[in-house]
Point group: C2
Chain length 284, copies 2
């Protein structure tokens, strides 16, 4: 029997239409305001999908906000019992009391990684608007910590102060490496280094492409300085799109960490399949 | 003879209309796009001021961008020869080769402080979109460093991630103090502490007012960690609006630094008067 898997994130609602053997038949991405999404809004959104919703297909969705699905306290397995609303199954996120932190969606990618590698013991790093670092052992998320790196990059790259100095795309490895070393060794230098970017463009001829890589390097270096317990001497898997994980892998490899990368979408889908298998187990 | 003083900043063009004895007759603030302002645009703007421009009053303006006025290399006196365009006198900013940095407008406030206290020997801290720390000795700016604190606060407070968790105004001293200590002692914790704000709101009940003060404390703590050579054991003057300088003074006093505050607008005006006196000296 066909079913739908989905993930709500800041960039919208990603949907997979799958058959009973979990083969992907179709993919869709819907824009939505994740912050103000209600039960009814989500149901209506899904009901509007042509050729899909009439049939009331079982639908498993992760990443829903606090108004739609509760969170579970770590340490715990990444997948928990969903909130059930008719054919709609909303997977709970995770929370941590101290330091206070929340994870909504990343737990399903972690579940997918565990489904593929049940013996995985180490740290999963998931870059995004916030980058999540999660300690995984014995098929459980032991603890985790989020860093605002992706959001800071987007905010700064589009800011009045920097928008004319930072290219919208492109990359420069040496500029990234230099910046990474600066804030990884001296995280207190971040704020001054950010303020100095326009001056470097004007005085030392820093190009917009170099500035873009430098901005990423400064932010990821500061993150790695704060996240050191999460990667130093650890077995690290970095999950994300290629463009997102490449700078993290480069930075970790430069520190001598043999981190390996993986596709986050594939991991999330695998996690959704694992969640769907449990539903089937419960209801059949 | 009457004249006009002004400062261009990210928030617009602040203008003072003064008589020959430097008594302020009127104040205006004009919105403008500081980043794309040209000579002609500025002249047209001033020509449109009713009851002022017809007379071609001498006009002294600081804070102009790279296309309007050059910058001078520190160490040097804060005031230098203006770019003259008819009755319009544009004061040059300052630059520093290494670490690369720029100052446009703050040098005039520093000149005003020196005009009032020629013996001042210490550090001037000027909070704004970027906070400038300048070492001043023997009536010269010896060196300076900018930190992106104000811009980061505004960007984060208005961001998707934090806007529903941070109050638009209000304050909470304990929340500020705790956050300040966190990042001043461990600047690497900034990015995770920022990402954790929504979780603290949801899990530990952090109020929006507390979150606002906490955000300011985290950013100023990280700045003070990076700016330590600028305040530790230094004679520090903090110039700005009351709301801007109060958290800096509180933070510095908590570190045992006997910093004192001053009004930046008054200092800038005093600096413009000093610059005007030189013009008069030159042209009469």
């Amino acid at each position: 029997m066909a079913w739908i898997g989905g993930e709500i994130s800041a960039s919208g609602l990603a949907l997979w239409l799958l058959d009973g053997a979990n083969t992907v038949l179709d993919r869709r991405t819907l824009r939505l305001d994740a912050l103000s999404l209600t039960d009814e809004g989500l149901a209506a959104l899904l009901a509007d999908l042509p050729g899909v919703a009439d049939e009331g297909l079982p639908t498993v969705i992760c990443g829903a906000g606090r108004d739609l699905a509760p969170t579970r306290a770590v340490p715990c397995a990444p997948l928990g019992p969903p909130q059930v609303r008719g054919h709609l199954h909303l997977l709970p996120g995770l929370h941590q009391a101290s330091p206070a932190d929340l994870m909504r969606g990343a737990e399903t990618a972690i579940a997918g990684l565990i489904a593929a590698q049940p013996q995985f013991d180490g740290v999963v790093c998931l870059p995004g608007p916030a980058t999540v670092w999660a300690q995984v052992s014995a098929e459980e998320v032991v603890s985790f910590r989020s860093f605002l790196t992706g959001d800071l990059f987007a905010l700064l790259a589009g800011s009045n102060a920097l928008q004319f100095h930072v290219a919208p795309d492109g990359w420069d490895d040496p500029a990234f490496d230099t910046a990474l070393d600066e804030t990884l060794s001296r995280p207190a230098s971040l704020s001054a280094a950010l303020a100095g970017l326009p001056a470097e463009a004007e005085i030392t001829g820093l190009s917009k492409t170099e500035a873009r890589a430098r901005l990423a390097g400064l932010l990821i270096g500061a993150e790695l300085a704060g996240a050191k317990p999460w990667w130093l001497g650890q077995n690290v898997a970095v999950l994300g799109d290629d463009a997102l994980i490449r700078p993290y892998l480069r930075a970790l490899h430069a520190q001598g960490v043999p981190a390996h990368g993986g596709d986050r979408g594939a991991a999330t889908l695998a996690g959704l399949c694992a969640a769907k298998a449990r539903l089937t187990g419960q209801t059949q």
